[in-house]
Amino acid sequence: MKARVTVTLKTGVLDPQGKAIESALKSLGVAGVESVRQGKVFDIEIGGSDRSAAEASLKAACEKLLANTVIENYRVEIGA
């Protein structure tokens, strides 16, 4: 199964990289950009066919390593 884990900064956590990207987009003249927050995406290939077991594994992966829950939220999506 293919899975995607998305890790984003919690609301209120200062994101200097997102701010720098935001100002670069504005200076490039990209219309309508109001704010940018930078996150991370992990595309993970996971064995077996039990979706709930896969989801449990991926949540464990997030809690143990992929996200630092002091500052980050995570979301797990399992595809076909």
Binding site: V13, L14, P16, Q17, A20, K64, L65, L66, N68, V70, I71
Partner: protein, 230 residues
């Protein structure tokens, strides 16, 4: 005799400097590899040195914080053993759960490498007894992710329990926004665990141990660890 275990992770680069500082103060130093599962018998102090472990991949200190040796290091800390994390070692200690909070990208987005003044917030600890409370130290900083962040409750607990070890300050000891090199909350440069046995700090005391190379204000930390008081 203090026995120190200095851990090398893939990408550590300050392990030699901190070992030299410890030896100069009179400690016995043993090198430990990150994949080892046990500390040498009789270890008093575990040092997590500076560097760029795992190329700072994922988050600074994140992968090193899950290395085999960190299980033994957590057990050592839980027994009251000393653990010192410097720069990347502070980041590793936070990621390993030895200290609260996290070090984020510097607010100014630049890697900052320069001399920096610090205040000694308390001197009644194994790491600072050779200093005086309120003393201003002239040390070095070199980091891109030194911006200390913790949630409101954690920050209140650190301040309320007196667990802030050092703060960035002006040469005269004033703690100001202008003296903050990276945006850290409350100008925090280093923090202790509640038992005062774990210390994490961004500055490099091991750089300042010889007047030939810039100063000796870092020496006090290693003298302190040897049990010498001010």
């Amino acid at each position: 005799m203090l026995k120190a275990a200095v851990v090398t992770f893939p990408g550590s680069n300050r392990e030699g400097d901190v070992a030299r500082a410890l030896r100069q103060a009179g400690a016995t130093v043993v090198s430990v590899w990150h994949a080892d599962t046990a500390l040498p018998a009789g270890t008093h102090l575990v040092v997590l040195p500076g560097g760029f472990s795992y190329g700072d991949y994922l988050r600074t200190g994140a992968i090193a914080g899950r290395a085999n040796i960190m299980d033994a290091t957590r057990a050592h800390a839980a027994r009251g053993g000393l653990v010192l994390g410097i720069c990347n070692g502070f980041q590793i200690a936070c990621e390993a759960g030895l200290l609260p909070g996290i070090l984020m990208r510097n607010a100014g987005l630049k890697f900052v490498c320069r001399r920096q003044h610090l205040t000694v917030e308390r001197a009644d600890t194994p790491y600072a007894r050779a200093y005086a409370k309120g003393q201003v130290l002239d040390v070095c900083i070199a980091h891109g992710e030194g911006n200390y962040v913790a949630d409101v409750e954690t920050l209140a607990r650190l301040e309320g329990e007196g667990l802030v070890a050092f703060r960035y300050c002006e040469a005269d000891g004033q703690v100001t926004a202008a003296a903050n090199p990276n945006g850290s909350l409350n100008n925090i440069a280093g923090i202790y665990s509640p038992g005062l046995n774990v210390l994490g700090l961004m500055p490099h005391p091991e750089n300042l141990i010889d007047s030939l190379t810039g100063g000796t204000d870092g020496l006090g930390m290693f003298e302190s660890l040897m049990g010498r008081a001010a």
